[in-house]
Symmetry: none
Subunit: 215 residues, 4 copies
Amino acid sequence: MPAATSSNGKDARANGRGARERILEAASKVLAERGYQRANLDEIISLSGTSKGSFYFHFPSKEQMVVGLLDQLSARLVKKVEQSLEKEERPLRRIALAIDTLMYTFSRRRKLAQMLLVNVAGQGKAMDRKFLPVHRRFAALIQRELDLAVAAGAIPPQDTALASQMWLGALHEVILRWLLAEHPTALSEALPALRALLLRSVGVDPAALKKEPRA
Amino acid sequence: MPAATSSNGKDARANGRGARERILEAASKVLAERGYQRANLDEIISLSGTSKGSFYFHFPSKEQMVVGLLDQLSARLVKKVEQSLEKEERPLRRIALAIDTLMYTFSRRRKLAQMLLVNVAGQGKAMDRKFLPVHRRFAALIQRELDLAVAAGAIPPQDTALASQMWLGALHEVILRWLLAEHPTALSEALPALRALLLRSVGVDPAALKKEPRA
Amino acid sequence: MPAATSSNGKDARANGRGARERILEAASKVLAERGYQRANLDEIISLSGTSKGSFYFHFPSKEQMVVGLLDQLSARLVKKVEQSLEKEERPLRRIALAIDTLMYTFSRRRKLAQMLLVNVAGQGKAMDRKFLPVHRRFAALIQRELDLAVAAGAIPPQDTALASQMWLGALHEVILRWLLAEHPTALSEALPALRALLLRSVGVDPAALKKEPRA
Amino acid sequence: MPAATSSNGKDARANGRGARERILEAASKVLAERGYQRANLDEIISLSGTSKGSFYFHFPSKEQMVVGLLDQLSARLVKKVEQSLEKEERPLRRIALAIDTLMYTFSRRRKLAQMLLVNVAGQGKAMDRKFLPVHRRFAALIQRELDLAVAAGAIPPQDTALASQMWLGALHEVILRWLLAEHPTALSEALPALRALLLRSVGVDPAALKKEPRA
DNA sequence: GATGAATGAGTATTCATTCAT
DNA sequence: TATGAATGAATACTCATTCAT
């Protein structure tokens, strides 16, 4: 039960935000823990301190809610990466920065990683297609940076669409293994080696990163 | 464990194999199409031409059946790759051959790919852990080849465990996108570029492959 | 009860009538299409361009609204029949006229028919009883005309209450079949034969209608 | 909870019949009392002494179960009428007999009447169409008898399809009113008058019934 | 008069698993 | 070995009604 709504605007609801937001936050938790199918609406609802009716007032269905949530979260993450790139113009450094920011963010927010990367597939072909945009969005981000690097002559011309898919999958798997590990080591430890692998795959000598000149 | 179905063809069932095999085959189909959770035992059973009771005579639970099936299939695939490597001793060629065989097999058997790669995650942390051995087995295969190449001096010393994870993820994602595409192009078209990306990532000039000398 | 919506057109709503009327009209449509139980308040409200709160300001409950609507509509229809009888005093002609007017009106307003005749039963005994007054009102109309005819000696004395029930049921079923037919023919085509059946049932030679003398 | 199944074939289940039959019987009761929509599956199931799973093992859905039940019941009733007609060849008497048997059966089995006649409409156009076959079956029975009478010269040629619809509606309404009455009088009291009304409607002098000669 | 967010009891349906035969 | 009827907990979704603003 939520605390009674008081009319002083201070703590309008249990934890200060609208029901819609509270539902999405609760859903994040449950989805991260249980996956899409086992994520129980009743649990999400009771965790959010709202009601069945409220849920269906704000969302047309469980599926739409999850799709919307993943969309929101992935957009937020992409934005965060964009911001980290704002002050960097050297293409190779931008690429490295994008990788670092993604990995760093996921390492700080396991639930986010669990949801965006793991619980987004394996629901049958029909559902998987619904979740595909999340993949596409991350891949597009990587591809754009690779294209910039190609244009700047920093890496050789190549199939950047394929490379970005490959990178995404690589990040995905490394994070997945980290998430499922019983006693995971810090994700950051693997970062330098992973970054080197990815850069080399598109033809960059990782050592070149250090010497990259400003434009 | 039931006694092995007698292999003398005398009283085999309708289509010539034991109930256990027929169930596993039916399960392959349904799992590929629907994913783990939505894969319905009733459908698997009716497709296999057996009965509920027969299913539970041969398998202790749906979960164990699926884990066993994935285990069997991945073992079979690994064996196939091993066989393709039998007559090749040059480490870089072995690596390329492993990639090629994996990709070729998946491209010919979409269902297999769907099951082993896609429907193996996103079921909640507990279940995902159960499916992890499949990942491990493929990664181990790749890692062994990388280690051989390192030992032979064909590639520089490096974290081959990480590299093999990365490779697996890369293959996974590329295949996933191919599986979910509305109008997929042949997977083989992407193969050379993908192979080049992977090889470069561990420090091999793809061109070196051609010139690799026999031991 | 709310004060009557002011009839000066000053601040009438979007389409010129009060919320109450707009709700009733929307309810007609939805009830005709879906039946009582499946008629969704949300749909009625959005169709009427009002709000939940407005609905419950004007009506105490869905049930009362529907009972009131059926009451209103049946009263209106009865009034229409009365008007058609105003200038006719010959009892047999009055009877025929009543049938004709009812059938003609229903044939022009399918929704009305659907609602008054079809969606008024089958909701369980308790609800059905609530809808009974509609039946009674129509039956009373018919019975009154039959009684007049008996009094005038135009038809033999008989159980006019039963006859009027029977007539109502007959009309009901014929209209129902017309409403549910995939490719309905004009209702008017069946009218002469139906009229003849009904008149004969109470002992009138349909041919007598033509020769009926003025009082 | 059903009594434990005993292996002596005598009282295999709670009340001696299979689950399917017990469900249908329970459904009859609940449908008669509550109508289609309000008929609660939980109640039907607990009344039948079975379980949710058992219900869905025997029937694909509530709707199909009800359609099947009505079909079965109406078929049974039609059969009963047919049997009552077996030894009567005089067409007018057959007609009267059919009416009498229908009315008598309904008067003895209120629930049957409630279900077949009342709770079969008013669920929205889509559902109503599903229930239409029940109407058709009864109307066809009546029409056949009317056609026989026409062929035998016992009644004048006419639109017997329309007449049978009308008769059905008439019977329906009379029974409905009887069912919904607070203090119903015996249905049989109204029977002679009703029979007379119906016979006259198709041009038979009810008195002629008595004198009808054997073929 | 009007709004729309919130409520929560109610409902049909799914499905892995059991067990008497 | 095999059968299939039976079980019942789980689950997404509906919808009339309330009430603070």
